[in-house]
C-alpha cells in the first residue's frame, strides 16, 4: 500500500491511491480523465503537457505523481470550463491562436503562469516565456498577440474592480 496523494485539482480536493511513482501525466489523463494535458515529446521539451503546480509551470510528463502531494494543481480544463472562461482562454479563442490545437492547452497554462508572474509583460518577455513551448504549426505570431491581449484584458478587469 502507498499513502494516498492528496492535492487540489482545479479547485477541488483530489486523491490518488495509485503508485506514487506514476508519471503525473498518466495520473491526470488516465485517472482523472483530464485529456487537455497532452503527451507529445515525453521528455519535458515541448510543453504540451504543461500544468501549474502552486502556480509554477511544469511538464506533467517529467514529474512523478508524488510531487503534487499537498499542492494546488491546475490544468487547462480548470480554465476552459470556468464560466466565464479565463481571459487567457478567451484571448486565445478570439485571436484563433492555434492551428492544429495540440499545443494550445500547454500554451494557455504557460501564458497563465506568465501573467500571474508579470501582469504587464513586454513583448520580449512574452516571447522569452512562450518560446519554451513548441507549436509545431509555428503559429507563434497569433499566440504572442493573444498573450498580450490577455494581459490587457486582465489589466482592464483589475482597473474596473
Amino acid at each position: 500500500m502507498t499513502a494516498p496523494i492528496r492535492f487540489t485539482l482545479n479547485g477541488a480536493p483530489a486523491e490518488f491511491n495509485g503508485p506514487a511513482g506514476t508519471p503525473l501525466i498518466d495520473m491526470l489523463r488516465e485517472h482523472f480523465g483530464l485529456r487537455g494535458v497532452r503527451l507529445a515529446c515525453a521528455r519535458g521539451v515541448c510543453g504540451s503537457c504543461t500544468v501549474l503546480i502552486d502556480g509554477a509551470p511544469g511538464a506533467a510528463c517529467s514529474l512523478f505523481a508524488y510531487r503534487v502531494d499537498g499542492r494546488d494543481v491546475r490544468t487547462v480544463e480548470g480554465l476552459a470550463d470556468a464560466d466565464p472562461p479565463s481571459p487567457v482562454v478567451a484571448a486565445f479563442a478570439d485571436h484563433a491562436a492555434f492551428q492544429c490545437g495540440y499545443c494550445t492547452g500547454g500554451m494557455i497554462m504557460l501564458a497563465t503562469a506568465l501573467l500571474a508572474h508579470d501582469p504587464d509583460p513586454s513583448r520580449e518577455t512574452v516571447v522569452a516565456w512562450m518560446s519554451s513551448n513548441i507549436c509545431r504549426c509555428t503559429g507563434y505570431g497569433m499566440i504572442i498577440e493573444a498573450v498580450l491581449d490577455a494581459a490587457a484584458r486582465l489589466r482592464e478587469a483589475r482597473d474596473a474592480a
Binding site: L39, A42, R43, A56, P57, S62, A113, S132
Partner: protein
C-alpha cells in the same frame, strides 16, 4: 520504439513502465537509510533529465525523492564560502538575492539555463549528476574552481572537483550534497553562451588572475591554459565556418567575456 496494437509504432516512454516504489526522506538520517536500504535506488531531484532517461530504457525499481530534504535546497553563505544545496532549483538558486549580490555574473549565467518551465523544477545537482556534456553547470563551476561535496555513508563529506565527474577512473560518490564556491577578493564571473551548443565559455576572475573554461556539446569542460589576452581575436571573420573558425570563435568568446569583466569592474 514499440508497436502498440491500435496505436501503431510509438516511442517508448514512462507510460506503461511499471511504477517504481518511492521513498521520500525528510532529513539526512532518513536519506542515508534510504540509500543504504534500497537496491539500486535512483535519486530524483527535479526529474527533468530522468524523464529523458526513461525514453532510453531506464527502469528503476526504487526512486528516492530529494525534494523534502530541506538541507539540500539551502544556500549557506559565510565569510569563506558560498554553499549551494544540490537540490536547489535553477529558479530558486539563480534568483537568490544574496547570490545575485555576491556573484552577479554567475547568477546571470545560471538564470540563462534552460527555459522557464524547466527552471522551476530542475536542480543544480541534477544538472551536474546527469553527466550530460550539453548541460552547462559543470562548465560554470569548473571556471569558478568550485568543490562538489558528496555525502559519505558516515554522514561526513567527500570532496570532488567538477572535472572529476568526467573522469571514469575517479568513482563518483552516490549523493551530491552541496557545491562550495570559495569567496575570494575580486571574485567575478562572465559567461558567453551565444554559440551554444557549439561552444560555450566561462571566465572567473579573482586576485590570482583569470581562469577560463570552455565546453562544446559533445566534450566536457576543459580549462584553458593561460590565455594571451592581447592576442585574442575580436570578430568572427570566417563566413564558411571552417575548423579554423571554431578555434577562432573560442578566442572571440574569451575576449568578450574578459571585456564583460572589465566593464563590470
Amino acid at each position: 520504439m514499440q508497436f502498440v496494437p491500435g496505436a501503431g509504432l510509438i516511442a517508448a516512454s514512462a507510460r506503461g513502465v511499471p511504477p517504481a516504489s518511492v521513498i521520500r526522506p525528510t532529513d539526512r538520517t532518513s536519506l542515508l537509510a534510504a540509500l543504504a536500504g534500497a537496491r539500486a535506488p535512483v535519486l530524483v531531484a527535479g526529474g527533468t533529465h530522468l524523464a529523458a532517461e526513461y525514453l532510453t530504457g531506464l527502469r528503476p525499481s526504487t526512486l528516492v525523492g530529494l525534494d523534502r530534504v530541506d538541507e539540500l535546497a539551502r544556500i549557506d553563505i559565510d565569510t569563506a564560502e558560498i554553499r549551494l544545496g544540490a537540490a536547489l532549483t535553477h529558479a530558486a538558486g539563480a534568483n537568490d538575492p544574496a547570490l545575485c549580490r555576491l556573484l552577479p555574473g554567475f547568477a546571470d549565467a545560471w538564470r540563462s539555463i534552460a527555459n522557464v518551465r524547466v527552471r522551476h523544477w530542475a536542480t543544480i545537482g541534477g544538472n551536474l549528476m546527469a553527466l550530460c556534456t550539453r548541460y552547462e553547470m559543470s562548465l560554470l563551476l569548473t571556471a569558478l574552481d568550485a568543490r562538489l561535496r558528496f555525502l559519505a555513508p558516515d554522514g561526513g563529506f567527500i570532496e570532488r572537483a567538477p572535472a572529476d565527474l568526467w573522469n571514469p577512473a575517479q568513482p563518483t560518490p552516490a549523493l551530491l550534497h552541496h557545491i562550495a564556491i570559495a569567496r575570494r577578493p575580486g571574485l567575478a564571473f562572465a559567461y558567453r553562451r551565444e554559440l551554444r551548443p557549439v561552444v560555450t565559455l566561462a571566465v572567473c576572475r579573482d586576485a590570482a588572475g583569470d581562469r577560463a573554461a570552455i565546453a562544446t556539446e559533445y566534450l566536457p569542460p576543459v580549462l584553458l591554459p593561460d590565455a594571451n589576452i592581447a592576442a585574442l581575436p575580436t570578430d568572427f571573420a570566417d563566413p564558411v565556418s571552417s575548423a579554423w573558425y571554431l578555434r577562432r570563435a573560442g578566442g572571440v568568446l574569451l575576449a568578450r567575456a574578459i571585456a564583460d569583466l572589465d566593464r563590470s569592474r
